[in-house]
Symmetry: C5
Subunit: 326 residues, 5 copies
C-alpha cells in the first residue's frame, strides 16, 4: 500500500498533479541536487514492490528482503543505492510486552523509498518533523534516513525506559516480605530485553558506518546527526545490558529469598509441632496404667495436667522466641 | 558413488554421449570461460575419489579430508583450486533431534566436485534450482558453490526454527503449575544447539572471505550472493545464541519452581500433620487415667470429644487458609 | 545560573569591571594565546544556555545535551570546539548510596564553559586549586578540562573506597554464624557498582584520546596529566570489577551458608523430636491394657517409667552429640 | 639419555660408523641443503644437554627450559634456530585420567634435536613414519618438526575422544533414575579438560605462525602440513570447549535432579507418616476412657477398629496415588 | 631510607670513597656507556625522594606515585627516563594469605633508582645475583630492571604454587565424606587469587613492550630476557586463571554435596522416625479399651507386644537398607 509519495524540492514539499503511483512524473520533478522523491509504503505486496523496484532501479536481493521482512538490521551498499533494515520496537502496556516491526529504506541519489511492516507511526512522525525543518530537507534523501533512524532509536529508548520501570517493580517484589512468584516475571523481562538487543546491537555497525564517513552517500554535514543517533543507540544498549545484569542479580536474590523462607517455614513448623507433641507426651504419661500414680487420685489432678500442658507449651513458645529460633 | 555428472555450457546442461565416470570426455566439452563440469558424489570409496582426484588434479590433503569426513567447516586455498567443507543439518521430528552430515566441494577453474556424506537432498535441490536459472550458471563453477551454500544455510535456518518451537514448549512446561521434569529436556536442547553452533560458527569466516573479494575464484558479481548467505548464517547464529540464553534462563526458572514447589509441599504436609496430631493430643487427654475427669462420665462425652476433634481440625484448616499458609 | 565567570590572563585571574553575563567584555580581555574566559554554570535554563551558546558559538547538538543532562560520558569534537560530558559520583553515608550528577565542558580556543547538574563541589575546588597553580593555568583552557577531570575522577576513587568498606562489611556478615539476610544488601551494592561503572567505563575512551595526542586542542605538555587521570580511572574501574566479583562470590557463599544452616536446623529439629517421641513410645507402652504387666504393679513403677524416659532422652542426646549429628 | 641419532641425506637415513654422541662426525655428513642430523634425547641430564648445546650452538635460555621442563607450549625464534615446546597428552584408562609430558624441539639449518620428558612414544612413531616417506624428509629438519607436531596433536584428538566417552557416561548417569553422586566425577572431568586446554591453547599461536609463513625456517611447501596440524588443534580445542559446556550443563541438571529427588523423598516420607499417624489417632480415640463408648462393648469392636485403621490407611494410599502426590 | 647505592663500571661494582647520598660524586664516576649508578631506597620520605629526584632529574608525577605507593603496575615513558611500577607478592604460611608490596624503578641513561615499599628481599637478591654476572651488568641500567622483574615474577610463581596446594586441600575437603564448611575457605582463596591477578595482569603490557623493542632504552640483546619474564608472567596468569576456574567448580560441587547430604539426613531422620512411630501405633492399639481383646488376657501378651514392636522396627530397618533408602 502506498501511504504517501511526494517530491521535495529545495527543502519543501512540492504539490504535483499526479497520482501517488506515477513515480516517473514525480521523479521528473527533480531539478537540482538535493531534490528527491520520498515514497512511503506499508506492507507492500510483491507486485507493488516490483513496480517500485523497476521505477527506481532497486536491487533484486534487497527487494526480496523488503517483501519477506524478518531480516536482521543491516546496511547494504549496492552499486548506486543503499539499503537499510531497521527493527522498530514499541511497548504494549496492557501485556507489559515489547513488540517489533520492521522498516526498510532504499536510498538513491534522488529518491528514498521507505517500507514499513508492523505497527508504528515512526514514518509519519519522521515525515512531519522533517517537513517542519526545510534546512534539513535540503541535505537530500539522506536527511530522510537520518530522521527515520532518529525516530526509531528514540523509540528504543522509550521501550528501555518502560522496561526499567518493570525491573524496578520486580526488584521491589523480590525483596518484599511476601511470598512472590517472581521467576516467571523475570524470565519474561529477560525475553523482552533479548528482543530489544536483537534490534539494537546489529544496528550499531550500520550507524557507525553512516556517522564515520565510510558511506559516501551521507554528506559530511549530516554525520553529526548520525553520530547522535549512534549515541542514543549505545545508550539504549548500555541500559539494556545493565537491566539484564540487574535481572540476573534479582533472580539470584529471589532464589536466596526462597531458601530463607523455606528455612523460616521449617522453623515455624517445628515450633508448632513441639507445641503439640510435648503435651501429647504428658497426656501419654498420665495415660499409663501404673497402680501407684499419686497424681491420678488428686481431686485437681486433671486440671493440673491440663495446666501443665499449657504451661509447657507456653514455655516452649517463649523459649523459641527468645532464642531467635522464630 | 557417482550421483550425477554433467557439463554446463553457456548456462545450460549439455547432454553428452558418455558414461558418468568418463571425466575426460566431459571436461573436453568445456569451450569457453564459464563452462564447467559438475560431478556429484555420494560417500565415495577411497578408490573412486582417487580416480576423480587424478582426473581433476585435486590436492591430496583435501582428498584425504573428503574421504574421512568429520572435518570442521573450512575453506582451504590450494594452488589452483578451492576446497570447502560444510556441515549439513536436519531436524528429525520423531526424536526432536538434530542430525549432521557433511558436504565437501572442490572448485577448479572449469570444474566443481561435490561430495556428500550423510542424509540430505541439499545437492539435488541445489542442482535443480541452478539448472532453472541459466543466468546464474553462466557465472561458472562458483555459482554451484553459492547454490550449495545457500541451500545448506537455509537448512540451518529451518533447524533453528524447529528448535525455537521446542524452546517455546519447554518454556510453557517450566511455568505450568504441574510438576515437570524439564531439566533433561533442556539439557538435550542445549546439546542440539551446540551441534548447530559447531556447524554454523566455523563457516562464518569462509563465507566472509568468499563475500569480501579475498578469494579471486569468486567473481565480483557473485559476491552479493555470498553476502546473502553470510547474512543468513549470522541470523542462524544469533537465533541460536538467543535460544541458548533463553534455555539457561528457563533452566534457572525451573530450579526456582522446584524450590517453590518444595516449599508449598512442605506447607501442605505440615498442615496435614497438624490436622492429625492435634486431635491425637485430644484423644490422649481423654485417655488419661485421672479419677476425677467430669467429661468421662457425661453421657455425650464421647460424641463431644469427637466433635471437639473435628472442630479443632476444621478451625486449623480455616486458619491455614486465611493466614496464607496454604 | 551563572556561578562564576572570570578572565584568566597569563595564568592569573583578572578582575574586570563587568557583570558575570557580559561575556563579550570578558572575552575582549583575551590578549595572547593561553588567555581564556572560564564561565561556570549551574543547572542553566534553556534560555541562559542559548545566550551563552550564541556568545561563544557552541554547537546546537551539544547545547541540547547540556540542557537535558542524562547523557553518557563522551567527548565530541566539533569544528572549533570540544564537548565533554562527565558523570560525577558521590557517596551518601546515611543511605550507603551512590548518587550521580553531571558536568558538561565546552572548550574553545579562548574559553571554557562548565555546566554542572546535580550536587557536588567539584567545580569550585577545581577552580580554587587551579588558581593556586598559575603555571598550569598558562596552558590555556585545556588546563581547566584537566583540573575538572582530575577532581571528578578522584571522586570516583573515593566512592569506590567507600564501597570497598561496604563489601568488607557484607563479607563479615555472610560468614558470621548468625542468620543474616545479606542478599538484599549484596543486591544494592551491585546496583551501586553498576552506577559507578556507568560513569567510569565510557569515560575511558575520551581520556585515552585526550592523553594520546589525538585531540589537537590538548597541548603536548598537558598529556601526562590526562594520562594520570586515565590511570586513576583504570584503577577505579579495576577495583570496581574486583568488588563485583567479590560480591558475586560472597552471594554464592551466602547461598551455601543458608543451605548449611537449613541442614543444621533440620538436624536440631529431628534431635528435638526424638527427645519427645521416644518417651511418648514408652508412655504408650505402659498405657497398654495387658492384664499381666509386672511393672504396673510395682510400687516404684511410675517413677521408674519417668526415669526410663529421662534416661532414654539423655542417652539420645549424648548419642547425637558424640556422633557429630549435632 | 640419547635415544637415537642419525644423519638424513636426500631423504634417507645414512648409516654412519660413529657412536650416537659423536655429533661432529654426524654433522660432517651433511652435504647439501635438506640433509640434516636428527638427535633424539630422553630426559637428558644437564650435562648431556650442555654437550649437545655446545655441539649445535643452542641458545642458553632454551637449553635451560629444556632441562627444567614444565614450560608452557611456545615457539621462540633465536638468531639462527627455533625452539618449540609441546605438551604431550595421553589418557590412562585405569584411572580415567589425562597425563602430560613435554617435548622440546631445537631446529637449526642442518639439525633437529628433540627432547622428550614423560611417557609417550610420539617421537619413535614420528621417526618411523617419516623414514617411510622420503619425499617428506627431503624438506629438511622442518619435516621432523611437522611430523612430531602431527603425532602429538593426533594424540590430543585421541584424548579428547576418550573424554567425550566419559562425558557421555556422566550424562547417562545424571539422568538415570538412581541416586548418583556425579559431582565428583564431573569435577574430575573438568580438571582433565583444563589440563587438555593448557596443552592445546597456547600451541595455537605457534602453529599459526608456522603455517602462515611468518617463520622463514619453514619452507613454503611444508606450510599446508602445519595448516593441517593447526586444523586438528582447533578441532581438539572446539571439542574440548563443547565438552566443558556440556559438563557445566550436566552439573546443573544434576543439581536439579537432587532437588527433584529431595522433593520426591519428602512426599514419600509424608505419605508414609500419614499411614501411621492416622491409625494412631484412631487407636487414641478408642483408648479414651469415656464411660459411654458403645463400640467398646461390641464383641467385634476390636477387629472393627483394626479394620478401620487398615481401611483409612488404604484409602489414604489410593488418594495419594490418584492425586499425583506420589 | 637509602639501602644501598653504588656505581657499576664495566660490569663490576666500584668502591668509591663517598657517602651513600652523595649522588653527584657517584654519578661523576660514570665513564662510558653501560656504566651506571644504582640507588636503592626503602620507603623513602617525601623529602629524601625529592632530593633524589633533583639529583637525577626524575619526573614529578612519577615521584608522586613513588611516594604514595598503591599504584597499579605500569610503565611510563617520560622524555629521558622510564618509570616502572611493580607489585610484589609473598605468601604468609601462618595465615595462608597473600600479601603485597610495591617496587618502583626509575631508569635513566646512566642511573637506576629502585624504591621498595612493603616487605620483601627481592631487591637485595636481585642485586647480589646481578653482581655475580658481570656480563649482564655491562648491558647497563636495563639489566637492573630485568633482574628486578625476574625476581619479582619468580615470586609470583612461588605464590601461585602455594595457592595450588591450598586449592588441592580444598578439593580434598569438598569431596571428603565429612560435613565440611568449605565455602569460607573457597571465598578466601578467591580473594587471594584476585590479589595475584591485580599484580600480574596489568604488568603484562609493560613486559610485552619491554620485550618487543618498543622501548628504545632496552638494548636488543636484553629483549630475550624480558621475553623470558613475560613468559613466566603468562604462566603465573594461566595457572591463576585455572585455579580460579577450579575453585568455582569446587564451590559448585560443595553446594551439590550439601544438598546430597541434606537429602541423606532427611532419609535417616525419616527412617529413625518410622522406627519409633510404628511401635507407638502398636502400643496405641493395645491401649485401646475394647472389652473383647483376646491378646490382653494372654499371660505372655505383654512380652508378645514388645516383641512385635521390636520385630516391626527390625523389619523396617532391613527394608530401608535393602531398598536403598539408607
Amino acid at each position: 500500500m502506498i501511504v504517501d509519495s511526494a517530491l521535495y524540492r529545495g527543502g519543501t514539499r512540492v504539490d504535483l498533479d499526479c497520482a501517488p503511483h506515477e513515480f516517473d512524473k514525480l521523479r521528473a520533478g527533480v531539478e537540482s541536487p538535493g531534490d528527491f522523491v520520498w515514497l512511503g509504503l506499508y506492507r507492500p505486496s510483491e507486485h507493488e514492490l516490483s513496480e517500485v523496484a523497476e521505477a527506481f532501479g532497486l536491487h533484486p536481493l534487497a527487494v526480496e528482503d523488503a517483501v519477506q521482512a524478518h531480516q536482521r538490521p543491516k546496511l547494504e551498499k549496492y552499486a548506486d543505492s543503499l539499503f537499510l533494515v531497521l527493527k522498530t520496537l514499541w511497548y504494549v502496556d496492557e501485556d507489559d510486552a515489547v513488540e517489533t516491526g520492521e522498516i526498510n529504506i532504499f536510498l538513491g541519489r534522488d529518491f528514498v523509498v521507505t517500507v514499513r511492516h508492523g505497527r508504528g507511526s515512526q514514518l509519519r512522525s519522521a515525515r512531519s518533523q522533517l517537513e517542519a525543518q526545510p534546512e534539513l530537507l535540503t541535505h537530500g534523501p539522506g536527511s530522510v534516513m537520518y530522521a527515520v533512524c532518529d525516530t526509531v532509536v528514540d523509540g528504543y529508548l522509550d521501550v528501555v525506559r518502560e522496561l526499567e520501570i518493570d525491573v524496578d517493580e520486580v526488584e521491589t517484589s523480590v525483596f518484599s516480605p511476601e511470598r512472590t512468584k517472581d521467576s516467571a516475571r523475570i524470565y519474561t523481562l529477560k525475553r523482552e530485553l533479548a528482543e530489544v538487543r536483537r534490534a539494537v546491537q546489529p544496528l550499531r555497525e550500520p550507524m557507525r558506518r553512516l556517522s564515520s564517513g565510510e558511506v559516501p552517500a551521507v554528506p559530511a554535514e549530516a554525520r553529526p546527526f548520525f553520530r547522535d543517533v549512534l549515541d542514543h543507540l549505545t545508550q539504549a544498549n548500555e541500559v539494556g545490558d545493565s537491566l539484564e545484569t540487574l535481572l540476573s542479580s534479582a533472580f539470584e536474590a529471589h532464589l536466596a529469598q526462597i531458601s530463607v523462607q523455606q528455612n523460616d517455614d521449617m522453623r515455624k513448623i517445628s515450633a508448632g509441632a513441639a507445641l503439640v507433641v510435648v503435651p501429647t507426651l504428658i497426656a501419654g504419661i498420665y495415660g499409663m496404667n501404673f497402680e501407684h500414680m499419686p497424681e491420678l487420685g488428686w481431686t485437681l489432678g486433671y486440671p493440673f495436667a491440663l495446666l501443665l500442658m499449657g504451661a509447657v507449651a507456653g514455655g516452649l513458645w517463649v523459649l523459641f522466641k527468645r532464642s531467635g529460633w522464630l
